[in-house]
């Protein structure tokens, strides 16, 4: 198996890049690592974050009697930050914890970030757990692959687990190069038997199968080059390693391997993913494209893309409200039959209204649908009361598909919900 890892060309190239980088450049910076003054002066530490409570209400009867019609939870999201007086070094530690009244899998903690960074005009180096976002589109984030999704938090997939990494950012005259070594894999979180929304069969997140014998210790690697060319911004990326999206196997297929019965088991495969991001700004228009090609998965290579625009009407109706509308189209070479994604040939329509009042009131709504009738919709509204409290109301609806032709959203059809969140920011 060691041989198999060695012959993976992407990984080998990246290790080479890292070696060249450290041996070639690092010694040159060494003197500045140890300033002549001796002890390094630290600036005052900074603590920010939020504490909140959240309630969810599911109007429809649950698919599984184990599930409830309501859920209450409380969370803490804190960030500690300290930098040296000159700003050359900094330390960030950001723990997160949620206690959930209904779902023991959603009661969880994570170190969203815990990293040390060294900042120099020629390179920025970070070691530790971090979150990194790649992408330009809103409906789905195809290219974004560094961090695992914290899927118990919200079905929108925007919440991510902290990823252990060594990251180097090298700014250049023509663009910025990011290099990543990801030595440890974070498995996706999944709702437990009491959790909603979830698949009809529970995904046993405590048990996972890996294609690679090193399992979570397989060192993944990634590179991204981003360039700004006037109104056009483009990025190319490549990832090699353990795919973040698992294949969900009925455990009956792996009982011989020790899988627990009656559940779905995540299977993480070794993949290569090439990604493209492009964005053009033209007046009030923003045009966006994301595309990926992924290889290494069972069933062979595939490609997918998202393309669309965002248009802003500033100061609508003679007020200070800004209205943004967006349309995105999605395509996937795996075709309409795949259960791997709800977004195989969809269109998204969305609107965002920023009221620009004292409470920074915002409204956001979107609808995603495909020609087969599968659809999902959401609406979010939030405003601030006073200086520290923000109140947010969110609704999510899922629909489409039939028992004989199920779709990913078909399985969530009874899990439409309304969510109220009160967050105290400090």
């Amino acid at each position: 198996m060691f041989v198999r890892r060695l012959i993976q060309p992407g990984f080998f190239r990246l290790i080479g890049l890292f070696l060249a980088f450290f041996t070639g450049l690092f010694p040159g910076f060494f003197p500045s690592l140890f300033p002549a003054g001796g002890a390094t002066a630290w600036a005052a530490p900074e603590v920010t974050g939020s504490l909140g409570v959240e309630g969810r209400y599911f109007p429809a009867d649950p698919a599984d009697p184990a599930q409830q019609s309501g859920d209450a939870s409380a969370f803490a999201d804190v960030e500690f930050h300290q930098s040296t007086a000159g700003g050359n070094w900094d330390l960030t530690v950001a723990p997160f914890y949620r206690h959930d009244g209904a779902d023991s899998e959603r009661t969880h903690g994570d170190l969203r970030e815990a990293f040390v960074r060294w900042i120099n005009p020629r390179v920025e180096l970070a070691v530790g757990l971090r979150r990194v976002f790649w992408g330009v589109t809103e409906s789905q984030h195809l290219v974004d692959i560094i961090n695992q999704t914290d899927a118990v938090e919200n079905p929108d997939g925007e919440d991510k687990l902290g990823q252990p990494m060594v990251m180097a950012t090298i700014p250049g005259a023509s663009g910025t190069l990011d290099l990543f070594l990801l030595p440890y894999f974070r498995a996706r979180t999944f709702p437990g038997p009491d959790g909603r929304p979830r698949t009809p069969l529970v995904v046993d997140a405590d048990y996972a199968l890996y294609e690679h014998p090193d399992r979570r210790r397989h060192p993944d690697s990634a590179v991204r080059y981003k360039r700004l060319m006037g109104p056009l911004e483009a990025a190319l990326s490549y990832f090699h390693g353990t795919g973040r999206e698992p294949l969900l196997l009925p455990s009956a297929t792996c009982l011989a391997l020790g899988c627990p019965p009656g559940v779905l088991v995540p299977y993480y495969q070794q993949i290569n993913q090439a990604g493209l991001e492009a964005q053009v700004v033209a007046g009030d228009w923003l045009w966006k494209l994301e595309a990926i090609h992924r290889s290494g998965e069972i069933g062979g290579g595939w490609s997918a893309w998202t393309a669309g625009y965002e248009y802003t009407f500033p100061a609508v109706w003679g007020t200070y409200m800004d209205l943004g509308v967006l349309t995105e189209l999605m395509g996937d070479s795996r075709g309409n039959n795949t259960l791997s994604t709800p977004f195989e040939g969809d269109a998204m329509l969305g609107a965002r209204l920023a009221v620009n009042d004292l409470g920074s009131t915002e409204l956001l709504a979107g609808l995603i649908a495909d020609p087969d009738g599968e659809w999902g919709a959401f609406a979010e509204g939030s405003r601030r009361f006073g200086n520290h409290l923000r109140v947010e109301l969110e609704a999510r609806l899922f629909g489409g598909g039939t028992p004989l032709a199920p779709t990913p959203f078909y399985y969530l059809r009874r899990d439409d919900y309304l969510q109220l969140t009160l967050t105290h920011h400090f």
């Binding site: 900074e46 920010t48 939020s50 930050h81 900094d90 960074r117 900042i119 005009p121 920025e124 979150r131 990194v132 976002f133 992408g135 330009v136 925007e158 950012t169 700014p171 910025t176 981003k226 700004l228 911004e233 964005q279 700004v281 033209a282 007046g283 009030d284 228009w285 923003l286 965002e310 248009y311 802003t312 500033p314 100061a315 200070y320 800004d322 620009n356 009042d357 004292l358 409470g359 920074s360 601030r384 200086n387 520290h388 923000r390 967050t423 920011h425 400090f426």
Partner: protein, 271 residues
């Protein structure tokens, strides 16, 4: 209230002779059209504020609605002059707490749209902003993006109107019309004080030509023995009754900022 008849005859004769000399002189300075005079004043004001290099400052915004309720926001800024183009700016939000850490990177351009990026710390995401949005509100205040993104003479066509005293201070009054069709204004009237060509007041007229807002500048202090900075801006919206006061503190010049301090990487680590 000098009456002509009180001026001695000799003085009158000299004055008449001078007038005659001016009237018949070839291409005299006074042949400057109001447009040329307005542009000259704008360029002179711009020239006097050239060469400051870079600066950092803290800005407190006090937003007041028509009921007198107010809300305070604070940001800190770093700015850098760019030769032959608009300035670069990085703005980091300190309060309210729910937007703390949000940051805006802006490259102003003399002509065309500015480049702007917003960093959203909760998502670790840098988002490009379509910047045709000049007339949109800055942070929910009565200031539009275009009100705070620089007064480069290239952004307007100018016309000198008159000289008049403003609060006892002699001022040049110039009308300027935005060149950009995306501007939210049909015209602006600017008062520059005669002594230092510092902007003292701006009236903003909406697209229909009605007076929309008045901005006044207060508490000017001089830095580096040369550059004047107002430490308080007061904007009143006449149509909504809302107002915004901007208070600037902690101005520091010559911080050694470079282009590397105004990149997307710098935006992501700004705090």
């Amino acid at each position: 209230m000098h009456h002509p008849s009180r001026i001695p005859a000799a003085t009158r004769a000299v004055a008449l002779a001078l007038l005659a000399a001016i009237a018949f002189a070839p291409a005299p300075a006074s042949a400057e059209t109001p447009e040329e005079q307005g542009l000259r004043l704008a360029r002179e004001a711009d020239q006097r504020d050239t060469g400051w290099g870079d600066a950092t400052s803290t800005l407190t915004m006090i937003l007041t609605n028509r009921h007198g309720e107010s809300s305070t926001r604070q940001v800190h800024n770093q700015n850098m002059e760019v030769k032959g183009d608009g300035d670069k700016a990085l703005i980091v939000f300190d309060s309210p707490a729910d937007v703390k850490g949000t940051a805006l990177l802006s490259f102003a351009h003399l002509t065309g749209s500015d480049d702007q990026w917003l960093y959203l710390p909760a998502l670790k995401r840098v988002k490009r902003i379509s910047s045709g949005n000049k007339s949109g509100s800055f942070m929910g205040s009565e200031f539009a993006y275009e009100d705070i993104s620089g007064d480069e003479p290239e952004k307007y066509t100018h016309r000198y109107l008159r000289d008049e005293a403003l609060d006892g201070q002699p001022c040049h009054v110039v009308e300027r019309d935005p060149v950009d069709p995306n501007s939210g204004y049909s015209r602006q009237i600017v008062w520059w004080d005669v002594e230092h060509l510092r902007v003292q007041k701006v009236e903003y007229y909406d697209r229909k030509g009605s007076l929309l807002k008045t901005l006044t500048f207060h508490d000017y202090r001089q830095y580096l023995d040369r550059f004047w900075r107002a430490h308080e801006y007061r904007m009143v919206n006449h149509q909504t009754g809302k107002g915004t006061v901007l208070k600037w503190t902690d101005y520091k010049f010559h911080n050694g900022l470079t282009d590397a301090d105004f990149t997307q990487a710098a935006l992501q680590r700004a705090r």
